[in-house]
Each structure stands twice: as structure tokens, then as C-alpha cells.
């Protein structure tokens, strides 16, 4: 590889509504404080009835393109990863293509791999870039997942999206290496036609989340000969706040390295967008020369680990970017009744 490949621009979108852990707990007679202590999540984002994975993907993609200031016709590949696509058959990626003016000579596909479908799309774009088959690729993670009422996941299943434009020119974060670890682990699943996912409770911990993130991250560090201390920032998939803090410690990263990326406390688990939003939150503040490590996790199970180096180009794109923090702060709280209505749990 002669020219450096990497992220050339990024964008996120988080819907405005929030429902607090307290509000949900009051419906089921649970102890809100206990849950907040356990998960370190206070509220999660909820989309409006006229938002879905496609609309959120488009908003994030449009934000990325605005930051990029390039021509959408140049985008050669579009991948949208989600576990709550609006159609079971009919891609979200083509809706995004039409909405950003990138129809035509483009490849597109939808991906599913629980919460790592977005980073899988990033890997596909990096591959197409490396082989010079496209000029610019667009990888999106977008989710508005359903959580079963009364289930513990109800407290954290949020909604949001993140889009990364991947290319060779004016790269803001150079890709230094990537490494994935995959196994067939049934920790969290949803059968075709089922409304709500099911999960393996405690089984989603050590054998699933932790095992794959640790193996992928260690694999990457070994492959590119780096150590945790080399990194200014690290971000992991955020199903709650406790897990990324713990896995960071287990891998030898400090709390300070992982802290900046944590958004879960205020928006919940945004599934396919989660680690990408964590990465975007870092990019909103990172300085040229900073090193960032990103490891996603998707149930089923697998982890994609990436190492990035921030370039001077990051200072050129900051102007006018809608940051993750801005989206976190732009909120309005809603009741459980309105939440049920918005999520379509109340059938009319």
C-alpha cells in the first residue's frame, strides 16, 4: 500500500427523545438505583415514529458528506449494518444511496452481525480501497433495536447511527492495521419473524463480549507490534458502561484512555452504531498524532479491532461538524407511554 487508507470523514445521528432508567423501572417496580449502579446507564435514546434505521443512516451519511465536502457520485461502495433494518428483504443501503445522490455505479449491500455489522462494513470498504477497486467507500452502522418489555435489555436498547467515509485523499485517521476474531457463540439472537431478541443473560459476558474483544484486540496489538500504552484513546462496543471499562482494564488500558469515548450512559446501547459512535466521539476531540484503537463486538459472535493514527487533516474538517456531544445534549425526556407508542409496541 503506497497511499495511506483511512477515514476521510464521519458523521453521527442520535434521535432526540430519551427515556430514563427511572421511568422504565417505575413501570416494572424495579429498583432504578440498583440498575443504574449495575449498568452505569441513566437514559437511552428513542426515535420518533417516523424515524427508522434508514432515516438515521441517511442523517449520519449526510453529516459525513457535509464534513467531507466531496461529491457523492464518487462513492463506490455503500454498506449499512443493522439488526433492525426496515425491510427483511430490500436493502437499506440503496435507500441511503438514493438519498445522498450516490445511485449509479456503486456497489451496495446490507449487513447483519448484531452490534458489529457497521465495523464489518468498514472492513469491506478498507478491502475495496486497498485493492483500488473504489475511490471512496461509505460504511454505516444504524440501529433502532426492539427490546422486550420487562427484560433487562429494555433499559439499554437505544437508537442511533454513525457513518464513515473511507478513502485515500485527505485522510483524517490513517488505518494502521485491523484484526478480527470470530466464533459461533449463541449469546444473543432473534429468529426470523420474532419481534424481540433473546439473550443468554450471564452467558453474554465472559464467553462472548469479553472473550472476543480481548482476542481481537490482543491479536491486533501483536500483529502490528504495539502495546496499550501506545494509544491515546481506546474505544470498545458499549452495551453498558461497565463492560467497556472492565475490558479496558483487563487489556491493560487505563480508565483515562477509554473514558472519552463513553456515550452509553446518556444514549444507551446503539447496537451497530455503538463502537462507531464511540470512535466518532474521540474524533470530535483527537489531535494530530494521536493513536486510537477501536474494537467492536457483535453477538453471534465476533470482534473487529482497528488501529488508527490521527493526521493533521483532522483540524481541517472540524468546522460545522455536529459532534456526538451536541447530539447527546439535544434531548427531550419522554414517558414510558410515549416510548411504547414511538417504538410501535402499542399497536394501533
Amino acid at each position: 500500500m503506497s497511499e495511506k487508507i483511512g477515514i476521510v470523514a464521519y458523521g453521527v445521528y442520535i434521535p432526540r427523545n430519551r427515556i430514563t432508567v427511572d421511568e422504565i423501572a417505575s413501570v416494572w417496580g424495579e429498583d432504578a438505583n440498583e440498575i443504574k449502579t449495575q449498568l452505569q446507564v441513566f437514559e437511552k435514546s428513542v426515535p420518533f415514529p417516523d424515524e427508522d434505521v434508514a432515516t438515521m443512516a441517511v442523517e449520519a451519511a449526510r453529516n459525513a458528506i457535509k464534513q467531507w465536502r466531496g461529491e457523492s457520485e464518487k462513492i463506490g461502495a455503500i454498506y449499512v449494518g443493522s439488526e433492525s433494518h426496515p425491510y427483511a428483504v430490500k436493502p437499506t443501503a440503496t435507500i441511503v444511496a438514493a438519498a445522498i445522490g450516490a445511485e449509479g455505479q456503486t456497489t451496495a449491500a446490507d449487513l447483519e452481525f448484531a452490534c458489529k455489522a457497521g465495523t464489518a462494513g468498514m472492513q469491506m470498504c478498507f478491502g475495496l480501497m486497498q485493492s483500488n477497486m473504489i475511490k471512496v467507500g461509505l460504511a454505516i452502522g444504524s440501529d433502532s433495536s426492539q427490546a422486550k418489555p420487562k427484560d433487562p435489555l429494555e433499559y439499554t436498547a437505544g437508537a442511533g447511527s454513525a457513518a464513515f467515509l473511507i478513502g485515500k485523499q485527505n485522510v483524517i485517521a490513517e488505518l494502521e492495521g485491523m484484526y478480527s476474531y470470530t466464533s459461533d457463540t449463541p449469546d444473543f439472537w432473534r429468529r426470523e419473524g420474532a419481534t424481540f431478541p433473546s439473550h443468554g443473560q450471564r452467558f453474554t459476558g465472559m464467553p462472548a463480549y469479553f472473550d472476543h474483544i480481548i482476542k481481537a484486540t490482543k491479536g491486533l496489538l501483536k500483529k502490528i507490534d504495539r502495546k496499550p500504552e501506545d494509544y491515546d484513546y481506546v474505544t470498545f462496543h458499549q452495551p453498558n458502561t461497565k463492560f467497556p471499562l472492565r475490558v479496558a482494564k483487563m487489556l491493560g488500558f487505563s480508565k483515562e484512555q477509554v473514558e472519552k469515548s463513553l456515550a452509553c450512559k446518556y444514549i444507551g446501547n446503539t447496537y451497530s452504531a455503538s463502537s462507531m459512535i464511540g470512535f466518532a466521539k474521540i474524533l470530535d476531540e483527537a489531535q494530530p498524532g494521536d493513536r486510537v484503537l477501536v474494537t467492536s463486538y457483535g453477538s453471534g459472535a465476533g470482534s473487529d479491532s482497528f488501529s488508527f493514527k490521527i493526521t493533521e487533516n483532522i483540524e481541517k474538517i472540524r468546522d460545522g461538524t455536529k459532534t456526538v456531544q451536541q447530539y447527546i445534549k439535544n434531548k427531550r425526556n419522554i414517558s414510558y407511554g410515549l416510548y411504547s407508542r414511538y417504538k410501535g409496541i402499542l399497536k394501533v
Binding site: R16, F48, P49, D50, E51, D52, A54, T55, V58, E59, R62, P86, Y87, I95, A98, A99, G101, R332, V348
Partner: protein, 129 residues
């Protein structure tokens, strides 16, 4: 909610592509084959401005079944920065916060759903800046 219609209208609904007449220079939305003002065939695609002001608005409580999922919602007449006016839903805000003259920007949303098995129609709406 027929497939050909949704496909045919997508550039107008997703991107706001109308026309500009090369002869009289007037801009129009939605698109027509000839210029509605001067009748010239010399028209080119034109993307409407993404920002505008709220001229009139009202809350809709009842409407056709493919649109009703989003009620109550606000519909308004928006005057865009390029002079074009459109009718569209105003979202992402409380009804009480809305004021005539408010600055708005375009957003991409679900406009209609044809039941549980039919197509979903997407398009532009506006939200306060």
C-alpha cells in the same frame, strides 16, 4: 403506495430535485417537463434549498391510514431560502415551541407506511435549526 410511483418520485422526495428554466430562470418544485411559468422545454434539474422559514402551520390529528402512524403531527407551508415554497411536515419539536418565521432545515424521514407488508415511503420534512 405503488412501487413505480415511489420509485419515480424518489429524487423529488429524497433530494428535493425540481427544475430550473434556462430561459426565464424561474425555479419550480415539483418538477414538470416544461417550465410552468413560460412553457419552455429548456429545463434542467434543480435541487431546492435545504433551509427555509415556517410561514403557516397546523396540527393534523386525522388523515389517511398510510400517514396516520405519525399523528398528531404538524404540517406547514415552508418558504425556502431560494423562494420556493413547499408543504411538508415539521418534526423534532413540540407543537408549543413552533412559531411563524422559525428557521427550519430539511431532514429525511418516513412519510408513509403501507400497512405491515407494503412499501415504506421516505421523503423530506423540516425541523427547527
Amino acid at each position: 403506495m405503488e412501487p413505480p410511483k415511489i420509485w419515480r418520485e424518489r429524487k423529488e422526495r429524497y433530494l428535493g430535485i425540481g427544475i430550473m428554466c434556462e430561459d426565464c430562470k424561474k425555479k419550480n418544485f415539483p418538477k414538470t417537463r416544461i417550465c410552468p411559468d413560460c412553457g419552455s422545454e429548456n429545463v434542467k434539474p434543480y435541487k431546492i434549498a435545504e433551509r427555509g422559514t415556517l410561514k403557516y402551520f397546523t396540527q393534523i390529528m386525522n388523515t389517511g391510514d398510510e400517514l396516520v402512524f405519525n399523528t398528531p403531527y404538524v404540517v406547514g407551508l415552508v418558504e425556502l431560502e431560494d423562494g420556493i415554497k413547499v408543504t411538508a411536515q415539521i418534526v423534532d419539536c413540540n407543537f408549543k415551541e413552533l412559531k411563524k418565521g422559525m428557521k427550519l432545515e430539511q431532514t429525511f424521514r418516513v412519510i408513509a407506511r403501507n400497512g405491515k407488508e407494503g412499501l415504506i415511503k421516505y421523503g423530506f420534512k423540516f425541523r427547527p435549526i
